[in-house]
Structures are given as C-alpha cells and as structure tokens.
C-alpha cells in the first residue's frame, strides 16, 4: 500500500517570497509522483509530474519539484509567488503498475500582499 504525507496543512507567505511545500511518500514499489492544484470552487489541475528520468521536474506557473528517492520526498517549490498562487496543493502518488492515485491531505498556500 502507498501513502502520502504533506507536512504542512497551511503555508502563509508574502508575495514575491519563495515557497516550498513538502511531500513525503511511502510505497514498496516504484511510483509516479504528481502535484495538483485546486483553486477555490474548482477541480484539480495538474501542476507537474515525475514519471522517470531527471529528478527535477518543471511544471506550469513557474513551479518545480525535486524527486528524492532516498528521502522518499517530492517537495514543490517556487522562487517567487504571486497572489494568484493562493490555492490548495495536493501531492499524489500512483504505482507504476497500477492506476489508483493516493492523495495527501493537501496544503493551503495563502499568498499575502
């Protein structure tokens, strides 16, 4: 079985500051990793994904994430956030051989002026 832990439920930051949203996972097999974003009253939008290859992946809206197999982490980063980045961010994992996505609890990112 796989699981995902997002270490911070809420992250408040000021505009133009850097941000890191932390995600750790647990699985007995190889996994694919994803970050999704959910804006208020909207569905889930894929930010970025790690399937294989380079451990640093870049996504939309200036976000990037680094896969660290030894630490079983997939932290999301952005060097300078905007007010519009305020949203809930979900880390998710799926086994390469299966299809079920297992989500973390989510991190509410609030960007203040």
């Amino acid at each position: 079985a796989q699981s995902v832990t997002q270490l911070d439920s809420q992250v408040p930051v000021f505009e133009e500051a850097p941000v890191e949203l932390r995600c750790n996972y647990s699985s007995s097999v190889s996994v694919y990793l994803f970050w999704y974003v959910q804006y208020p009253n909207q569905g889930l939008q894929l930010l970025l994904k790690y399937l294989s290859g380079s451990t640093l992946v870049k996504g939309i809206n200036g976000f990037e994430a680094e896969f660290n197999k030894s630490q079983t982490s997939f932290h999301l980063r952005k060097p300078s956030v905007h007010i519009s980045d305020t949203a809930e961010y979900f880390c998710a994992v799926s086994e390469t051989s299966g299809s079920r996505l297992t989500f973390g609890e989510g991190t509410q990112l609030t960007v203040n002026p």
Partner: protein, 113 residues
C-alpha cells in the same frame, strides 16, 4: 484543449434517493476514474474502469455504488440509496493508459439532506 466535463455541477438530494453523476472523459482516453472529496478532507479514490469493467475499487466503493459507460462518451457513477455521509465533491478523471496522467473534471458537489 480537450477536457473532462461533469454534470450537474451541484446536486441536492434527499437521503435514500438514487443519484446519477455524469462525466464525459477526454475522447481518446481509455481509463476512467471516480474520486470524492468530503469537505475539508483529502481526495479519495473510489473506482477505476477500463474496457467496460471495473479494474480497481476502494473499500469506500460498496454495493451502493455502481459505474457504467452507457455509450461511447459518458461515464456515470450511481449511488443507489444516498446517505448523509455521501455528501462530498465527486471528481471524474480519465487517462490514456493505466499509469498515465489523470485529468480531472471540475467536480459535482453532492449534498444529501
């Protein structure tokens, strides 16, 4: 850009009634999923569907739930006799393959009174 669509956006029903939630997956996708998100909680996997049959289901997906692909475009989730605890946002998703990126619809908010 193709997207997953869901109808209705909001459904209100009385406890014990049957509801059908509808989804139109992306046209060339072969795998279909339902997830739910109870208010304030994480997104949870319900079921995946491939080649006209369930490929995986969670412990949440009991006999009250069923899925169907009644034609070449729609994918439905039926809850036979709704309970108060079924109140949640229900997301449909689709992917090309079983381990590929899942694209989510905007969700249907189900309120059971």
């Amino acid at each position: 850009e193709p997207e997953v669509t869901q109808t209705p956006s909001h459904q209100v029903t009385q406890m014990g009634q049957e509801v059908i939630l509808r989804c139109v997956p992306i046209s060339n996708h072969l795998y279909f999923y339902w997830y739910r998100q109870i208010l304030g909680q994480k997104v949870e996997f319900l079921v995946s569907f491939y080649n006209n049959e369930i490929s995986e289901k969670s412990e949440i997906f009991d006999d009250q739930f069923s899925v169907e692909r009644p034609d070449g475009s729609n994918f439905t989730l039926k809850i036979r006799s709704t309970k108060l605890e079924d109140s949640a946002m229900y997301f449909c998703a689709s992917s090309v393959g079983g381990g590929d990126t899942q694209y989510f619809g905007p969700g249907t908010r189900l309120t059971v009174l």
